[in-house]
Amino acid sequence: MRLHQIALSLLRPIGMVVTGLACMFLFLALSGYAAGPSFSALWVGATGLQFSPFQFDAFHAAQSLAYVTPLLFTGLAISLAFRAGLFNIGAPGQMTFGAFFCAVAAAALPGINGAVHIALALAAGCAAGGVWGWLSGVLKTRYGVHEVLSTIMLNYIAADLTTYLASHNFKDPSYQAPQTRAIASSTHLHSIAAGSSLNAGFYLAIFFLALVTWAVRNTSFGFQIRAVGQNEEAARASGMPVDRVVMASMSLSGGLAGIAGAVLVLGQQHCFVAGIAGNYGFDGIAVALLGGASGTGILLSALFFGALAHGAEYMQIITNVPNSIALIVQAMVILLAGVRTWRKKRVRLAGQSNKSNSDKNDGAYSTQISSGEEVG
């Protein structure tokens, strides 16, 4: 890409971020908080940088990155599904499932080498999230259930089931709360900045971001994902197994969300607690919508939202502004991202689109049981 193209592609997300922050300013002004100190507290909390006198507080920067870590995974997961034309709002459930099975696997496999142990626990989390995503894929391709609806329901089911299991069969008896037994310290992801929650999971997130971005571009399967997402009809006509691609994309997306949960368990919580997924699953939607299709976009967008989350927390402590103002910024970004100014309307010549499949429903609850795969 040339320089002006890069600048142009940045214009839109920057506009979204600026509008979101302007909204925040408006809310602060409306409710009588001093905007200046609030924003400065937000900045310090988000970056750890203070200008007069110049000071760098590594704790805040590290804490922001600790927020960024799961956001990178969920944002990547949702973005990957977007690439395939799927709207995976099931990341919270997939993440919860991944966290639970990671914690169980880590606790159930004692006495092996630390690195192998960690890898197995991560794999368990990934597989569990993947299965949860795959379910939505099957429901979509085989039974025509739109993934948005199935994932909403599966989110609740995952939360309920894991809470039940964590308060019964896998409960740590020494605590009142529904949580599993603590995992061995050899399976902890090691801390990067002492005193903060930042851990090696961050490197893992960057690695996966690079890996997935590379694979989508450079493997034939990634190519199929993109083709299905951009033009399902063309992909089908060119002979791609569209249904299989859809199912695999949902599984991979769920798997990435599952790793987000696993990293939370291995890096921060060290056990499964009900509600461990927090808002990361939904926040990932904002990350993906702002970041778009590029890996760099996801990285910058996750950095923004992670820093915003910790910054807002710090701002609440310093200036008493409720940190939920970050949610408002996020909502604004989602809504702005949804406006389809970039999608050109295709002009159709009247009378030439008498296509036999024009009655096909491409809507949100469409029941597209595809014919291409099962012609018999």
Binding site: S220, A237, S238, G239, L349, A350, V375
Partner: protein
Amino acid sequence: MATGTEAVKYALRMEGITHAFPGVLANDHIHLAVRRGTFHAVIGENGAGKSTLLNILFGKFPPDEGRIWIEGEEVTGRLNSSADAIKSGIGLVSQHYSLIPALTVLENLLLGAEEQWIIPFAKAVEPGKKLAEQLGMEALDFFQPASQLSVASRQKVEILKALYRGAKILLLDEPTATLAPSESDTLFALLKRLRDKGITVVFVTHKLREVMTHSDAVTVLRSGKNAGDFQTAQTTPGELLRAMIGEKTGPGNRRESSIEATEARVLLEIRKLSVSTGGIKRLHEVDLQLNTGEILGIAGVDGSGQSELVEAVLGLRKVDSGEICLNGSPINSMNTGRRREAGLGYIAEDRHDRGMIDTFTVAENYVLGLERRKAFGGGLLLNWRKIAEKTRTMLTEYDVRLGSDGALTRAGSLSGGNQQKLVVARELDAQPSVLLACQPTRGLDVNASATVHQRLQNARDNGVGVMLFSLDLDETLALSDRIAVLYNGRVAGVLARKDATSERVGALMTGAVD
């Protein structure tokens, strides 16, 4: 222009109607004058501008130029929505979209014409019933969902719906396209009864036989222009056909096949293939054979079953019965991917829908569907350098000149001709044994068309069997070695090149002969 007395004779007059779509002048100063209480046919080939004319009349979009009178009163500029058209006494029975399947017959009748906020269904059904009786539809159940009606009854309900709103002029868009012959007869009987009651009927069709038997007057359109007005009683099918398809230029880019007929073997064999959509049979026991080194042209008016045939062969559509064999082995149970691997190439009718992905680069489009081939990376990975290299070779070979981005140009930004060359190149470079070429030159200029034609003939000379689906009869006649004509989902005839005159094919296409 129209004087007072003259205008009153006409239920509908249109003068100088012009409408352009990007790149196409769909209606070029068209005039249409329909006398009150007559049965007026509007005929023309695909793309002649009939649908555009109907849509203008029904308020879908205003004409760029031109004036319209209804019952002698000028309504130019007042037909801005369907509601306006209905108010002016126009009713449209279109092939698509009009009845809402989930609503009952009565609800469909009332929709948009409800008088009270709380709809008195029991009372509202009375005028409908009376109207239905007049039309000989006593058996109609007004409280049945429209989805349960047969195609023929659905159409009658559409007519009823228009009359219920007080339509004086009834427009019908290819009303018999989906009807069986006996149903068509019933429909025309009904329409004649309406005409005798003073309703003016305008119908658009491809079928000359219907025009000759049923209409009072005919307006012929060709390429967006008027091509003659006739009184049915004073004309012949031949005259209409000539007006409709004009002087055919004959073989332009044609080259004889270099493969002797004796060496030919069967590549694609279709046996008793039947296909239906939504309960309507679209293909009836179609038998076709495609041999090595030939171009088999499939002629037929739009909607005769071409797209169903293509989709069935590709495995994009379920078939009711019949067998499809490629290179001697049945492919019915294969999915599209396997069929493509087995040697099926496909140039899609609408390249933006199926042929390519506008948002992808030229190189990406060039490997679309071929991404697992060894030549492009070996299955798992994609070797973009190799792909770009191959794409560049292809671009030179097909004389596609791009800007500095070369193979990385967004395909959507290419001209239509270059896009089509890209699709043709990809499909031919995959070395298929059978190529389904659908409208391969639609929207292309002369040079691009010539390139595509040449490539198709080269492929044929190399032994590829090409099945050419074109709505442009000139193209079909120019390229084909044999021509099969589809009419209403059946093979109306298969002609050898030497027997296939434009009259003969045109007559088969429009059902003017049996």
